[in-house]
């Protein structure tokens, strides 16, 4: 019997598809509008363009091309319009950008620098927890033994 190993369609390069340059550029612009730069955090544009280009499937690339290609320009106004009038298309775009941003080691590293305990990949480090789980001080509750189960009145 042949051993079959698991495949990983979430890993960069799995689909070896990428995005056309124009779509990648529009996605970067959209990313910067959806998550703009702050005093401490970078904008999402380049992060999203790279993340998506490495992971997108052909069908997803075509979907993104359709969404971004239909915009006359990438701006707060056009994305607001997209969110209002084509919410399902907007959700696709937002999902890619948010997933990319918060899956980026640059972003999670900056979060940590600013005091968050979140350290990105859950393993191998996990988290140290020092407090035992709370225990009821006044236990409540009961159960019905097998022999006491009777017909309920409805």
């Amino acid at each position: 019997m042949t051993d079959i190993t698991m495949r990983h369609p979430s890993r960069p390069g799995f689909y070896n598809c990428g995005l056309p340059a124009a779509v990648r550029s529009s996605l970067a612009e959209a990313g910067d509008v959806l998550i703009p730069r702050s005093d401490t955090m970078p904008p999402a544009g380049d992060i999203a363009a790279l993340f998506v280009s490495e992971r997108v499937s052909p069908a997803e690339a075509a979907e993104l091309e359709g969404i971004l290609g239909a915009l006359t320009e990438v701006s707060v106004a056009t994305l607001t319009d997209l969110e209002l009038n084509r919410p399902e298309r907007f959700a696709v775009l937002r999902t890619w950008v948010y997933q990319a941003y918060y899956g980026s080691p640059v972003v999670t590293g900056l979060m940590q620098l600013q005091g968050s305990a979140y350290h990105g990949a859950p393993q191998p480090f996990g988290y140290e927890l020092h407090e035992d789980a709370p225990v009821p001080t006044e236990p409540r509750g009961t159960f019905i033994p097998t022999e006491e189960v009777v017909r309920v009145r409805r």
């Binding site: 019997m1 042949t2 051993d3 079959i4 190993t5 698991m6 495949r7 990983h8 369609p9 979430s10 998550i35 703009p36 401490t40 955090m41 992971r55 994305l79 937002r94 999902t95 948010y98 997933q99 941003y101 918060y102 899956g103 980026s104 080691p105 999670t108 968050s116 305990a117 979140y118 990105g120 990949a121 859950p122 393993q123 191998p124 480090f125 996990g126 988290y127 140290e128 927890l129 407090e131 035992d132 789980a133 709370p134 225990v135 009821p136 001080t137 236990p139 409540r140 509750g141 009961t142 159960f143 019905i144 033994p145 097998t146 189960v149 009777v150 017909r151 309920v152 009145r153 409805r154």
Partner: protein, 552 residues
């Protein structure tokens, strides 16, 4: 077709049911061939080692095989719920939180209690399963605290209670303010090193498996010990049909090697089917032959019917104070059985579990948490809103006992096939009015909890036309019963009218209880194995008694 092989027992499915039975049989000296259509999962395959782990939950670690679309997955068409199952060694325990409940005595007696829809008493009792619950707990290294007065007294858990993030205190205080029952949840997660497994290191995410082996999976509990005892495990082995001889007795299994596309056949006097609440009826229906034209063990048209899932409402609860929802085991921290028993004053029978615990990571929080109802704003407000959401979330789930109904069922899709050309499963599920009433009642309780625990807001999935629950718990589709007219197997999991065929997994459950079922599936499987061993040692045929069975 390669030459026909001979085995003593063929087990279909490497999940909890199949794993427990195979392990027990091997310990008794029985040789077992196990067929699993999925792969082995290497520890490095798990997503938690990657920063983009949340993205993998939309790909190879998605709950839904239709989303994953991997070669080992079979399509599940139809509608009514999201079909969640995992095809790999370890089955769906590769992809669960390890919430670990036992069914209570009354949950085995729903025919006596109300008999609504197709509710029947189980042909066994809680007490029949207690020794097997205990052993199954030891196999899984369950963690938890003894003394919950809402359960019959029981042995101490094999490992102490887990530690959780700050959310556990928030939850406990909220439930105390309401005066409701609560208890630290049991989880199939080792809190200390246990039988060669590492202790949980509180990484915050259990559902894409556990690279440390801390999460108790069927692989850790049963498959690894079975392999050490000589299990002949064949991965990538997709069952095409269960074969029968001229008398109608199960005689073996035909399967296709997904890698080579070659057909194989293993003959055996005993076939154990444990392929989950969707996979099991699919194989039975795909095994139709001249003697059983409507599918194996389906003389009374019961195969695939009475599908239960547990009605679900998921909620994101948001707090001003930090909750640490990304740390600690993802397995539940706390549950409440305040509303677990039937109370006719609610206008419905059956009850519910309220489960509370950790949430997901930053990507999920940015997209609205578990429910996705309220994604973080985009634009200039994004960073400030994200800071208010991340580390401020608690996950809550309302889980009700749904009624078994004939029309909630798994059938075969007449048009769609899997990558081996085998007809796909098709699903159909609708809530009973009783289920809907319970969900509406429970939703109000979740909102009360949010207020009592000082939450800023709560996002609750609605029970309306958009209701599309998670199908994590696939139960009842080849259920155990006292009569062949309303069930598929007898009290020892022997298929009615098909000697030599045993079915034991979530599909065997007569009713579903209001709790997560994996603990019960494991206990049933150990008991089933003891029945098989007794039959084998006594020289008895493995065949259901056609006479009405009493309670075991």
């Amino acid at each position: 077709m390669s030459a026909v092989e001979q085995a003593e027992v063929v087990v279909i499915g490497a999940g909890v049911g199949g794993g427990a039975i195979a392990s027990r049989l091997l310990e008794s000296g029985v040789r077992v061939v196990m067929l699993e259509q999925g792969p082995h999962i290497d520890p490095l395959d798990h997503a938690q080692l990657r920063t983009d782990w949340e993205f993998s939950l939309t790909r190879e670690w998605a709950f839904d095989p239709n989303v994953r679309g991997l070669d080992e997955d079979y399509p599940v068409t139809g509608d009514g719920f999201n079909p969640f199952l995992f095809n790999a060694v370890g089955g769906s325990t590769n992809h669960y939180g390890g919430f670990w409940h036992r069914m209570k005595p009354a949950e085995f007696r729903k025919g006596t209690e109300h008999g609504l829809a197709n509710s029947e008493d189980w042909p066994i009792s809680h007490e029949d399963l207690v020794p097997y619950y205990e052993e199954n707990d030891r196999r899984f290294g369950v963690s938890g605290l003894a003394g919950d007065p809402s359960h019959p007294p029981r042995e101490p858990r094999p490992t102490p209670p887990l530690r959780h993030g700050p959310y556990a205190r928030i939850i406990a205080d909220g439930l105390d303010r309401l005066g409701w029952h609560w208890w630290p949840a049991d989880n199939a997660i080792a809190s200390v090193p246990y039988r060669g497994r590492q202790a949980c290191n509180n990484c915050g995410m259990c559902t894409p498996g556990c690279p440390r082996g801390s999460l108790g999976t069927a692989t850790e509990a049963y498959i690894k010990p079975a392999l050490r005892a000589g299990l002949d495990l064949r991965v990538g082995a997709r069952v095409v049909r269960i074969c029968t001889d001229h008398t109608g007795k199960a005689s073996g299994v035909e399967y296709v090697d997904r890698a080579t596309r070659a057909m194989h056949r293993v003959d055996a006097p005993l076939v154990v089917l444990a392929a989950n609440g969707i996979g099991t009826p699919r194989i039975l229906l795909n095994s139709a032959n001249a003697q059983a034209p409507h599918g194996l063990a389906n003389e009374h048209d019961q195969v695939g019917r009475n599908l239960m899932l547990h009605g679900y409402v998921l909620a994101d609860i948001w707090y001003d104070q930090p909750t640490g929802h990304f740390m600690g085991p993802w397995g539940a921290s706390t549950f409440s059985h305040e509303f677990h028993a039937t109370d006719a004053m609610r206008g419905a029978v059956n009850g519910m579990t309220l489960t509370f615990g950790a949430g997901f990571g930053p990507a999920a929080v940015s997209l609205g948490g578990t429910t996705g109802i309220a994604p973080v704003a985009w634009g200039q407000a994004h960073h400030a809103e994200f800071a208010r959401a991340f580390d401020h979330n608690v996950f809550a789930a309302l889980q009700i006992e749904d009624l078994p109904q004939s029309d909630n069922r798994i059938t075969l899709d007449p048009d769609v096939v899997d990558s081996s050309g085998i007809p796909a499963a098709r699903r159909h599920y609708r809530l009973h009015e009783n289920d809907r009433t319970l969900l509406e009642f429970g939703t109000q309780r979740l909102q009360e909890f949010a207020t009592a625990s000082g939450a800023r807001s709560i996002d609750v999935q609605p029970v309306d036309d958009r209701y599309n629950p998670p199908g994590w718990h696939l139960m009842g589709t080849a259920r155990m019963g006292a009569r062949p007219e309303s069930s598929v197997v007898d009290s020892w999991h022997r298929a009615w009218n098909v000697p030599g065929l045993v079915i034991c997994d979530g599909s065997s459950m007569t009713t579903g209880g209001a709790v997560n079922p994996t603990s019960t599936i494991g206990a049933m499987a150990l008991r089933c194995a003891d029945g098989l061993i007794a039959s084998m040692r006594s020289g008895l045929a493995v065949a259901a008694d056609p006479a009405p069975a009493g309670r075991a």
